[in-house]
Symmetry: C2
Subunit: 337 residues, 2 copies
Amino acid sequence: MKTTIYDIAKATGFSASTVSRALNGTGYCNPKTKAKILEAAHALHYSPSNAGRALKSQRSNRILFCIPDIMNPFYFEMIQGATDVLNRHNFHCMLCYTQHSEAEELKYLDLLSEQYGDGMIMVSFNFSEAITEKINHAYFPVVTTNLVPKPHTDDRFDTVYIDHIRAMYLATQTLIDKGHRQIAIAVGDPDEQTGRERLRGYQDCLKDHGLPYKDLNVFVGDYTIASGKHIADRILVEGKDFTGLVSANDLMALGIVSRLQAAGFTLPDDLSIVSLDNSDYADAVHPGLTSVDMKQYEIGKTSAELLLERILDKRQSRKVIRLEPGLVERQSVKVPV
Amino acid sequence: MKTTIYDIAKATGFSASTVSRALNGTGYCNPKTKAKILEAAHALHYSPSNAGRALKSQRSNRILFCIPDIMNPFYFEMIQGATDVLNRHNFHCMLCYTQHSEAEELKYLDLLSEQYGDGMIMVSFNFSEAITEKINHAYFPVVTTNLVPKPHTDDRFDTVYIDHIRAMYLATQTLIDKGHRQIAIAVGDPDEQTGRERLRGYQDCLKDHGLPYKDLNVFVGDYTIASGKHIADRILVEGKDFTGLVSANDLMALGIVSRLQAAGFTLPDDLSIVSLDNSDYADAVHPGLTSVDMKQYEIGKTSAELLLERILDKRQSRKVIRLEPGLVERQSVKVPV
DNA sequence: TTGAAAGCGCTAACAA
DNA sequence: TTGTTAGCGCTTTCAA
């Protein structure tokens, strides 16, 4: 069996409560007694049982961080931001990989209710009714990193989000400002919130500049490199009548770029590209991708802060925080010929 | 307060143990009673407390999976492999991001001892004495995914590993077979185990083919894209007298390729490259990188299986499993001119 | 300064 | 078929 405070109590002749006080430094305890107890604890390889402590204190000191896709560099910085804050407060960040699946997301929400953690940061492509309902009924606090598509006035959870519509608007605007009039878009499933919003930003921007929107110029992928390649294949087969392209994320842009280059395209001469995410990969290809910074680190950091306010300060009121995207220019945009 | 079985007991008029039996389907329980209890549980939004259950059963049904670097696609498949196995057995995989730091690794080992999980899969660049000692003394089982550098006969933990020496040997051999005689290497810190082994495979292969080893042809990076770029910069400044290059991972190769292309190199004409990892990114650039499959999925899967044998079957004997790398050819290798 | 006792939520052996 | 009881490891109140 694992060593418990009772083993230490027996070894030292003190009671379990004295051992507890000594180990935690709470309450009175004779320095000599404390020394003996600490020594015995060390000798017996003691470490406290989180199960026992959690049961008593109703706190596990764990935070669950759900991410839909570990393949996606978009989340790295968010994790870092959250971890930095949580560790500073002696909370531990446990990552849960939800595989872009509602069923998995619901599963982890159930685990949260089973006290696997004291709270959850949830990243999702798509907050369904089922998910938001579960979040609203959850006993432990959840912070989402997207605005939910159908907000109810009785939604109770906090949200930190980046304005995806503005982000794609910014990307599109960047090309328009350079003189592009024919602009295509590579985007994720428009039936999911993220895809819908990003497409919307593109449409809004075209409209505001009096440019026509054409269904033909909308290429739908799934945020992976592979889908970027498929999109490039379609472009190669169908031919293109656009000089610029905005991509809903860096990975798809990567796939598009590599396949087009393989087919003999020169970038940005033959096509200007602006992407979203500003991940490390935007700078990992040649030419470097001009990309929109989605403030990932700040999202993670702020989410963790909101969660800790709920847990430590017992905040009850709702907070919704919106962050603004920013453009990072590299070499993938050129004035069209 | 969160709903407990006592709340359900009170609501239905049955005892807590009957409620427990009804909810878990263990032991006798009148179907009608069970129906009433399940209904009440649902109405009260009941979910079991993992803390209480873990305390009683001494099992949390969580596995901790430590990874040094979430930025690195190398681990994606491992996580997938482990998750697939664990979920099938009703265990949950919690990822712990150790930031390539011994202190963090030790911290998570402590958390394991505090019963944050029933076992751990540990990926590390470098298993120090401190870490292996803690693993040997850990009450819960740990599986490592590297051979430890200084094995002791009393090491007790399981290991699943890929032969890094053979992998780099294979990469080097691939270039030699194509006719390359001057081959450089981009590798990680040779003071860490992974770097040391990969360098060793390169050296062994050169030696076996009667080719000279030159310190000048060894470029040290840290497995990131950025360090690949720095290496490319050095190559550009110092000039090169080699026609082939092996890279210790895909990300560094990516950095090297993009920077060299930016400087006007054409690949593979000006330089042939073979990399290790065979991650998605090997296929995401142009030309596609010939890369060595490090059997990541299988490592994850097997690790989880070994862990479950320890936990569920109480296996005591040690297992060490070695997997063999395999070459995946793409377009980054050419006969030298 | 220390110890006894109760209780966090759950399960299981045993009794009824 | 159901209930009583004890105990998992820990903390905390209260008494000594």
